[in-house]
Amino acid sequence: MTLTHYLVLSGILFSVGSATVLLRRNAIIAFMGVELMLNATNLALVTFSRMHGELTGQVLAFFVMVVAAAEVVVGLAIIVAIFRTRRSASIDDVNLLKS
């Protein structure tokens, strides 16, 4: 079991996450895709940290978690505000702004 496997897993999770953001229509699901990308990053950081034998990567992983939590607060506030106005969280319905 080499550490590279974790990196491959992290890459797969990151791709799944970005595909979710780009393809899914529901704002909450798209946002969950972003969270998956951040968590894939955390896995990569912790693995690299282990490979290099030092702690910086793990510290950064904590910061990413904190930032992700802050992002959830702001993001859900915006999504809920929109949902209460329109009764829908689909990003296809938000189409008033067009050139």
Binding site: S18, V21, F63
Partner: protein, 575 residues
């Protein structure tokens, strides 16, 4: 095991600390200070913090000029010349933007929803408005965003870079969704900005992870040393570097990461658009400069392909799409995309002249942008039916003045009705276009000559050609303002009142329809012919900001040498 406390140079951190501390204080003010005095308290606090921060930058200046700067917090922040220039510019521009943000019309309306969390058109919103409940969390949010922006160009490691980027972005997402009028558009803009912004910062942090995997450190200097020595892990480095650049290019709105820009600029409250357009760009370009000049110079051959493509696409697409816009805010948004391309040519130049050129360009562009959006905020739609034009009483104004007149056709004849404002707008447009005797010309000249010196003459050529094309649509607006008669003069009673929801019955109806869903559709489609264009009388803060911006634009255009010298004197990055 003993704990060694890090040695912190508080003095060198003071510009950032003052702003962030005032932001935190502002949150407390929001919670504890009674409603009536809250706005003045917030204003004094915000103004004081920004002025204090500018003074702190000035106090640090001579020390940094003689020593070349120093690292703070064990190298997490680098306080050197470019940092101070950018922090000073951010302080000044935020102060100008704050004047526009804080301004209210003669009827006491600022640009922000009194209760932004309420559902547009709901009973609760109505109740809150009748009781006069007004929230002022705009000011602390503005300060927190400014704090993040001031940290971003000073970062010395990738962790700080990521955190600073988020600290500046999160308040901006919220500010975008807080417009008083056209609230659905505003909320929609906030959602788009948030989803795309979060996506971009996820890409950035994955790039950071890959760079950490490559170099084994987050410190810029360590990564630069690792980059200079070839190893078998080059793909890791390249992918990481590109992802990191993508995250930053998203913030400056470069093609193909520009998709959010027009929507967000259009939907956000106009004073916030001005702030965002000027200051976010400054902060992100500052970080981009530092990363490109100090971390990746030995990768130049690999990254040039990416950056050249991005720069050319940005200049060309920004200009071409701006040509066909009919909405002032969208037009300025595409023009800001084109400007991001021009600044990128200076970044790619990768020589010392490039640094000071980019810094000067950002200052010139930021001043004109805040002024231009300040004017857009003042030019309003006014419903003809609700009150006659010469009735200037408060009640009549409240009933008849609607949202911003953003459709270009509504700007026709503005030069005749309000010559001073139209003159200032023309000046800012000329500066955007890069006409001599304005700051924009000096900025463009500096950036393009730096690009030629750095060997990137094809970029400079594309830049000059697209500025020439861009001059066309800037001049078109000036022609529209001065040589076209106002559209409504010909057909004031055209049918369309019914379509627009007939907002004729006084204050409440006009406000609610404007906020609600029905009006949004009509306002987006085309301006209802029942409105005229008027310049709304305000408390005068925005006028001060516009005046200062116009003055600075002219002074920087006619006597640029002192400022250019001041900047190029210190424009060297700490290694």
């Amino acid at each position: 095991m003993t704990f060694t406390a890090p040695d912190i140079a508080w003095g060198a951190l003071s510009p950032v600390l003052i702003v962030l501390a005032a932001g935190v204080l502002g949150v407390l003010v929001e919670a504890f200070v009674p409603d009536r005095v809250r706005r003045p308290v917030q204003l004094v606090l915000t103004f004081g913090a920004l002025v204090g921060s500018i003074i702190a930058v000035a106090a640090l200046w001579s020390g940094v000029r003689s020593s070349g700067g120093r690292d703070v917090l064990e190298g997490s922040l680098l306080v050197d010349g470019p940092t101070l220039v950018l922090q000073g510019a951010l302080g000044v521009l935020t102060l100008l933007a704050l004047l526009v943000v804080a301004d209210r019309t003669a009827t006491g309306e600022d640009a922000f929803a009194p209760s932004a969390a309420s559902v547009p058109g709901s009973e609760y919103e109505d109740l809150a408005r009748r009781k006069g409940i007004t929230q002022t969390e705009v000011y602390p949010l503005l300060l927190l965003a400014t704090g993040g922006m001031m940290i971003l160009p000073a970062t010395g490691d990738l962790l700080t870079l990521f955190v600073a980027l988020e600290v500046l972005s999160l308040p901006l997402y919220l500010l975008t969704g807080m417009a008083r009028r056209r609230r659905l558009l505003s909320q929609e803009a906030a959602l788009k900005y948030f989803l795309l912004g979060a996506f971009a910062s996820a890409l950035l942090i994955f790039g950071v992870a890959l760079l950490y995997g490559y170099a084994g450190s987050l410190r810029y200097s360590d990564i630069a040393a690792a980059v200079a020595t070839p190893s078998a892990l080059d793909p890791l480095l390249l992918v990481g570097a590109v992802l990191l650049l993508v995250g930053l290019l998203f913030k400056v709105g470069a093609v193909p990461f520009h998709a959010w820009t027009p929507d967000v600029y259009q939907g956000a409250p106009t004073p916030i658009t001005g702030f965002m357009a000027a200051c976010t760009k400054i902060a992100a370009f500052g970080a981009l400069l530092r990363v490109y000049y100090t971390v990746f110079p030995s990768l130049q051959w690999d990254l040039d392909v990416v950056l050249w493509t991005v720069a050319i696409a940005t200049m060309v697409l920004g200009t071409v799409v701006a040509l066909v816009q009919t909405d002032v805010k969208r037009l300025l948004a595409y023009s800001s995309i084109a400007h991001a391309g021009f600044v990128l040519t200076g970044v790619i130049a990768l020589d010392d002249a490039g640094i000071s050129a980019v810094l000067f360009y950002l200052l010139a562009y930021g001043v004109a942008t805040i002024g231009a959006f300040g004017i857009v905020w003042l030019v309003r739609e006014r419903s003809v039916s609700a009150a006659s034009d010469d009735d200037e009483s408060d009640e009549a104004l409240r009933a008849s003045v609607l949202g911003e007149a953003t459709h270009l056709s509504q700007w026709a004849g503005l030069g005749r009705t309000s010559p001073v404002l139209a003159g200032a707008f023309a000046l800012f447009l000329l500066s955007f276009a890069g006409i001599p005797l304005t700051a924009g010309f000096i900025g463009k000249f500096a950036v393009f000559s730096a690009a030629v010196e750095g060997g990137a003459w094809p970029l400079a050529l594309v830049g000059v050609l697209s500025s020439a094309a861009a001059a066309f649509f800037y001049v078109r607006i000036i022609v529209l303002m001065y040589f076209t008669s106002p559209a409504h003069e010909s057909a004031p009673d055209a049918p369309g009142a019914v379509e627009a929801g007939a907002p004729t019955a006084g204050a409440d109806v006009a406000l609610t329809t404007d906020d609600g869903a029905g009006a949004v559709a009509t306002l987006v489609a085309a301006p209802a012919p029942t409105t005229t264009t008027t310049v709304v009388p305000s408390e005068g803060l925005a006028a001060v900001a516009i005046g200062v911006c116009a003055l600075v634009t002219v002074v920087l255009g006619v006597f640029p040498t002192p400022v250019l010298d001041l900047i190029s004197d210190v424009a060297r990055f700490l290694p």
